[in-house]
């Protein structure tokens, strides 16, 4: 395994920060392995995105605007990734640890009979082998896994774990041909966006999350959103809030939701069940606001403010806004 391929997740050519993090990490790994760093971009809008990716430290950017990638579930994109992997030969394939990324990873593992390392937060090359470091068992153990044999390895990478790097290295654009003789059956009939946030949760530097303590959907809009906006962040939620129908499931943080690693995580009216903590405990700084000083989130937080969220949040939003106004 010498080369590195990154899978670029995007929506009509709009990609996310994690793509650039993967590109920088792919470069670093490829250099350590003595190989090349490539990207695959497939689906409508890919040609334009491929040109944008030339500002990142890659060698080849394989791309196709094939509309089938958007029209059919998963199979076309996995076909393209497999085709690129076959061209490069044994490689490490970096995929973002998002819902789509995990799906792609599972399928390409079988196509290439590859190993899978999931939810990786750190990568190292030791004696020519890629070592994948990831928190397991609800964050209680940090494991280092390595691929056996010199073949393919698939790695899902936690967003916000690596720094992006703007650096044009003259990456070559390589258009891909449509694979011959493929028919696809699983049609995507419609795609509905429910989350309205400007910034994706996984890549937000600040996440302000609300739980059952908010008592209903309105405080998410009237309290959390303004605070998140003042801090330049995104709004998240606990499962309890999503289950109650106050926010869509796409805002849920945790074992069965999104795993986030922002610089700052503010847990508002969230008790901190282990399933929630799994999704946020690698955040840089964790602040919790809870009226109960004995909640489990206190074991994970850096600061626990014991008090009424309905009083604290509006006051905090005003303070943050004032601090920012004074700064500019």
């Amino acid at each position: 395994m010498r080369d590195v391929i990154i899978f670029v997740e995007h929506n009509g050519g709009q990609t996310r920060k994690v793509t650039f993090e993967l590109a920088a990490e792919a470069r670093r790994l490829a250099d350590a392995l003595g190989g090349k760093a490539h990207a695959l971009v497939a689906g409508v809008g890919s040609a334009a995105l491929a040109r944008q990716l030339q500002n990142h430290p890659l060698d080849k950017i394989f791309h196709t605007d094939d509309a089938d990638v958007d029209k059919f579930l998963l199979d076309p994109v996995v076909d393209y990734l497999e085709a690129v992997a076959k061209v490069t030969g044994p490689a490490a394939i970096l995929v973002p640890n998002t819902m789509l990324g995990r799906d792609v990873a599972g399928r390409i593992v079988a196509r290439l009979d590859a190993g899978l390392a999931s939810d990786v937060t750190e990568l190292r090359v030791e004696n020519g082998r890629v070592h994948c470091i990831a928190p397991k068992l609800q964050g209680s153990t940090i494991t280092t896994c390595a691929f056996k044999g010199g073949d393919y390895g698939v790695i899902t990478v936690r967003p916000n774990a690596f720094a992006a790097q703007l650096q044009a290295t003259g990456a070559e654009l390589v258009p891909l041909e449509k694979p011959a003789g493929k028919t696809y059956g699983m049609v995507v009939e419609s795609d509905v966006e429910e989350a309205t946030g400007e910034i994706g949760l996984e890549e937000a530097a600040v996440v302000v999350s609300g739980g059952r303590g908010l008592g209903g959907p309105e405080p998410f809009e009237t309290l959390l959103k303004p605070l998140a906006e003042a801090l330049g962040g995104a709004v998240g939620a606990s499962r309890a809030a999503a289950d109650a129908g106050w926010v869509p499931y796409s805002l849920q943080i945790g074992q069965t939701g999104k795993i986030v690693s922002p610089q700052l995580y503010i847990a508002v009216g969230i008790s901190g069940a282990i399933q929630h903590k799994v999704g946020m405990q690698t955040a840089g700084t964790i602040v919790a606001i809870n009226r109960d000083g004995t909640v489990p989130i206190g074991e994970t937080a850096d600061l626990l403010v014991v008090g009424d969220l309905f009083q604290i949040i509006p006051a905090l939003t005003t303070l943050v806004q004032e601090a920012k106004a004074a700064h500019t």
Binding site: T98, G115, L116, K136, G200, Q263, G293, L303, A315
Partner: protein, 270 residues
């Protein structure tokens, strides 16, 4: 319609679990075996489907059955009774000492070989396992079986006449997809809380069949278990301990807010 639910038998999620520093495998001794909690949702979804599709007379004349499938040591057999007590019809285990130490690709390959043998119209799986937590098996399994994989399904809208239509959760909302059966579906918790086994269910489960297949029975002819695994654990460590939280009792909103702002300033976060 033949529905198969893949369930993983995991160490009790509520127990304190650790990895043996020597073998680098999860320590199972002294910990009860449980159904992976996410798979209980898959069982629930399967039982709902069976109720929906109903009696043979409304369908193709063929009864709808729910079979539980697991790849696990035979010694864990009794842990499947709970799934049968919930209402599944029978269970099949793929058990073979050779399979010990399998990783995602080998597990999926072996499961696929066994499932080709049992047959299915639809496979329901959990979205991830509580211990492995990779969520990689269902996708790889679908691939080895050569069937479409509909992941993160929150609702099966239609199923029958060789087709399925379902709503999948996505990162930003949901999608409606449709296509041919057979297919593999992973479900989210939105399908509904898993039902409790009734007393009658528990009694009935004792009489239900749990059959066992070996690797050879399924024509597994390539290296499996740790020999076939493409991954190995080379080291384990404890996470960096976080410092104990600073706790501030806020008398009112203003003082609580000020305490947070001061803290964020200290850490250069505002």
């Amino acid at each position: 319609m033949k529905i198969v639910v893949t369930v993983k038998l995991v160490p009790d999620p509520n127990a304190v679990r650790r990895i043996d520093p020597g073998t680098k495998r999860l320590v199972r001794a002294g910990i009860e075996t449980a159904l992976n909690p996410f798979d209980e949702y898959a069982i629930e979804a399967a039982l709902q489907l069976k109720e929906q599709i109903g009696a043979p007379s409304t369908g193709s004349g063929q009864a709808t059955t729910v079979t539980i499938f697991t790849m696990a040591p035979e010694s864990m057999k009794e842990s499947l009774r709970k799934a049968l007590a919930m209402g599944a019809d029978d269970a099949v285990m793929l058990s073979d000492p050779a399979l010990e130490g399998s990783d995602v690709s080998v597990t999926s390959y072996a499961m696929a070989q066994a499932l080709k043998k049992t047959g299915f119209d639809v496979i329901l799986s959990g979205a991830l396992s509580d211990d492995g937590n990779t969520g990689g098996v269902p996708g790889a399994l679908a691939e080895y079986l050569g069937v479409p994989g509909l992941t993160n399904v929150r609702k099966i809208e239609e199923i029958g006449n060789g087709r399925i239509k379902a709503q999948r959760e996505t990162d930003s909302g949901y999608q409606v997809v449709s296509g041919p059966l057979p297919a593999l579906v992973t479900v989210t918790m939105a399908v509904g809380e898993p039902r409790y086994a009734s007393l009658k269910g528990i009694m009935g489960a004792k009489k239900k069949t749990i059959s066992t297949l070996s690797a050879a029975d399924c024509g597994i002819d390539r290296p499996v278990g740790s020999d076939g695994a493409k991954m190995e654990v080379v080291a384990i460590a404890a996470p960096k301990a976080r410092e104990k939280a600073k706790v501030v009792e806020a008398a009112d909103g203003a003082s609580g807010a000020q305490a947070i702002l001061d803290f964020l300033r200290e850490r250069k976060l505002v």
